[in-house]
Structure formats: structure tokens, C-alpha cells
């Protein structure tokens, strides 16, 4: 958070940006691994990811891309995926 100062007051406000809370990827103990061959492009993982760490690729190639800098390994994407296209594996 970049703490705001308005009219001399120290305020708990900030401008939204990528990674405002730092690299939450370091919290991860389980890593979501994606298998593009099983994916049916339903977008549920993208919708449910609480960290906005999943980007969609509509241009061809692997449909989703997980940003491991901010993915905290909660496993929600793997849980909501109807095709088991995402598997949680222990971090190395």
C-alpha cells in the first residue's frame, strides 16, 4: 500500500495497481499446474481466482496463464475447474 496523505492527514488509501500487497506468490505451498489439453475455456478459474492471478489468452495457444508472482496457491481454481485441467502440486 502506498499510504496517502491528504490535507495533512495520514490515510489508509492507495491507488490500485498490480501487486499492491507485495508478491503474494511467496505465500504458496501448493502450486496450480495447468493442462491445456483438458481445458474447455469455461473461464471459471479466471472468475474465481481471488488474486486475479489468472489471465486469459483468447489469441490461441494455452488458454490460461497463471501469474506465479501473485498466485498464493489457494487451490480455488483447481477446485472449480469442471475438467480437472488444474492440479495442485507441492512447491519444490
Amino acid at each position: 500500500m502506498s499510504e496517502g496523505r491528504v490535507k495533512g492527514k495520514v490515510l489508509p488509501i492507495s491507488k490500485p495497481c498490480v501487486g499492491v500487497a507485495g508478491k503474494t506468490g511467496s505465500w504458496r505451498v501448493m502450486r496450480p499446474v495447468y493442462d491445456d489439453s483438458k481445458c474447455v475455456k469455461c473461464r471459471l478459474c479466471w472468475l474465481y481466482c481471488p488474486e486475479n492471478a489468472i489471465d486469459l489468452n483468447e489469441e490461441g495457444g494455452p488458454f490460461i496463464k497463471i501469474n506465479y508472482d501473485y498466485c498464493k496457491g489457494c487451490g480455488i481454481c483447481a477446485s472449480v475447474c469442471p475438467k480437472n485441467a488444474i492440479t495442485m502440486v507441492p512447491e519444490g
Binding site: M1, E3, S14
Partner: protein
Amino acid sequence: MVVKPLTGNYAAAYAAKLSRVKVVAAYPITPQTTIVEKLAQFIEDGEMDAKMIRVESEHSALAAAYGAASGGVRAYTATSSQGLLYMHEMVWWVAGSRIPLVMTIVTRTLGPPWNIWTDHSDIMDQRDSGWLIMMAEHNQEVLDETIKMFKITEDPRVFLPGIVGLDAFILSHTTEPVDIPDQELVDTFLPPRRQPYVFKPGDSLLMGNVPRNLKENMRMREDIHNSLEAAKKVIEEVDEEWGKLTGRRYGGLIECYRCEDASHFIVGMGAWVGDMREAVDSLRTNGIKVGLIKVRYVRPFPREDILKWVVNAKSVIVFDRSVSAGSAGPLFLDVAAHLMAAGIRVPVKNILAGITGLDVTYEDIADAVLKSVAEVEETGKFSRFIEWYYGR
């Protein structure tokens, strides 16, 4: 200007209306309910241009009012007792985010057992949260201070929310003549709403995100404290301005009664200050030089004002209508700490009375003070600093 018979609750409702509150969010709880009932009626009758948000709990009531206030409008809520405790988490969020907002607390004791009568347990439970907190003595003060509280809390030197407290039933459901100022007068008095930032569509802003720098986080707390200290001057200025417009000056953070030549001082807060005035009169008739310090604002705490009066006193007797169990009454703790820190060695005593709503008459107060003064006159000190007073 028109004088009308009003309950304390209706006085609060009229004040919110005159302050042109735009959003009211509330959940019913005795003895607060008739405030928001009255506001709902004003809105329904087209007398007040506001939205009433009905919610499922007090936690949501304050959250909704807070959201509206963050969006740039004057917002208001009211609650009591258990409802206030349920709301407590949001109480800290509003102060921490520096959003001005006004809330009425009709003070009521806390369970168990179930009990609807007044004491100050609920309001004093909020005292560390960063809100301005005041207690009214009568219904006129409820109306006046609610309007003033909008001006005080929206002053850039303050930018904090504020609570106006009134005792359950003694004020909330008791009718007194109240002078209702004209809308034009209130409009001149209250400037357009000011606040440190506004959430608006298209202008993204985050509030309350995880801090990366804890020093800066601690500075936010210091800033709240400093702004409460700065609020003392604002409270006095606003009191003076309101006094010029209406003829009613209260004296800022405290109000004194027969203090000029007093050697013993009573300190109290809330509706029973009215009984304390009578107790002072009756003690004075018996030749005891007692003065009364009415604490209007408990946050910010009127340290300087109280010390100024009691510096040469023979004793100070602080009445609390709530207790910090395991220590003492909260008003007493503040008074005693600031006396000690200022190096003033006056015998000081805490009388705990009226807790859970036990009735206290002016004769009770006079009796308790008489005995205390007799002891200090004879021995120069109080043998015990705390007394649970159950009546004569």
C-alpha cells in the same frame, strides 16, 4: 425558530433532518428505535430528501452509512447497547478510514441479564476507537450537538466520525421543550460536506489495503490521536459560533456549574448531571463549597479544562455510570491519570452509581458527596479510591 415538546430521540431525528442527511441506515433496537422511525416518517412524508436503507444488523447499518459517507454524502445511523457491540468492528473501520459520519447512541446497559435501562457501558466501550464522543444532559443539547457534530467532524482539522450520546428513557423517551432552529439558520451554519477523499466511479481508489510499511500504519494511529487533540479547538469554535446564532453556548468540552469558588468538585457526564446540579445547590445550602464539572466530550478528553479548575481543589469526586471491571470507572481513570501526569496531588475518588440503570436521585448524589467531603475534610484524604454506591 419554534419551541416544540420533543423526546430526546425526536430531537436527534430533527437534528439529522435539519443537517440535510442524505442516507440513513439503521436496525431497530430499544431504546433507539423511535429516532429512525421518526426519520422514516420524515422521508415518507416528503419532508426530508434522503434514502433510508433497512439492513439485517447493526454491523451492516454502520457499514451502509459508512459506504454512503465514503461516496460523499452526509450519512447517519443510531443504535444502543447490544446492537452497538455488534457494530463495534465497523466503529473502528470508520474512524480508521477518516470518514466523517454522525451516530447517535442511546446509552443502555449490556446483558446479561436482559435490561433496557441506562448506563454508560455501551458508549464507553467505544472510547478507544478514534470517534469523537459526547454525552448530552438534556434534549436541547441532543439537538444542538448533533447538528454541531456534523460541522466538527467534517472540519479538515478533524476528519473523524462522531457520536452523540443520550441516556435511555431519561432523555430518549422523556419530553422536554426543545427549540428547533430554522432550516435557513442550519443551512448557513453547516457548510457543504467536506471529507478527505471520495469514492467515485471512474476514479479508482483502494481503502484499507495491507500495509507494507508498519511505521506508516502506526503514524495513521498517531494522526487520529493528534486530530482528536486538534478537535478540541474546533469544538470550542463551533460552540461559540452556534452560541452566536442561537444564544446557546455550552462551553466547549466541559460545562461548569458553581465552580468559581468551589473547593470540592464533582465530575459527571450525561443526563444525571441535571440531578448533580440540584445536589450542588442543596450541598451549597448546607455551606459546602461544591462545584460541578460536566464532561460534555469524553473524547477528546478535556484534560486542560478539568485540570485548570481542580488544580487547587481539596478533593475531586468522579461519578461513573460504567466500570472498567478490574480497574475503575473510565471517567475516573482519565481524570486521575491526567492529574497525576500534571503533578497535581488532589485527593480523588470514584463513585460508581446508576450502573445497570439503578435509579439515582439528587438526594443520593448529595448524600454520597456529603460523606466523601466529610472524610476528606477530616483526614485530608480518601481511605478508598472506589465506592460502589447503591443509594441511601
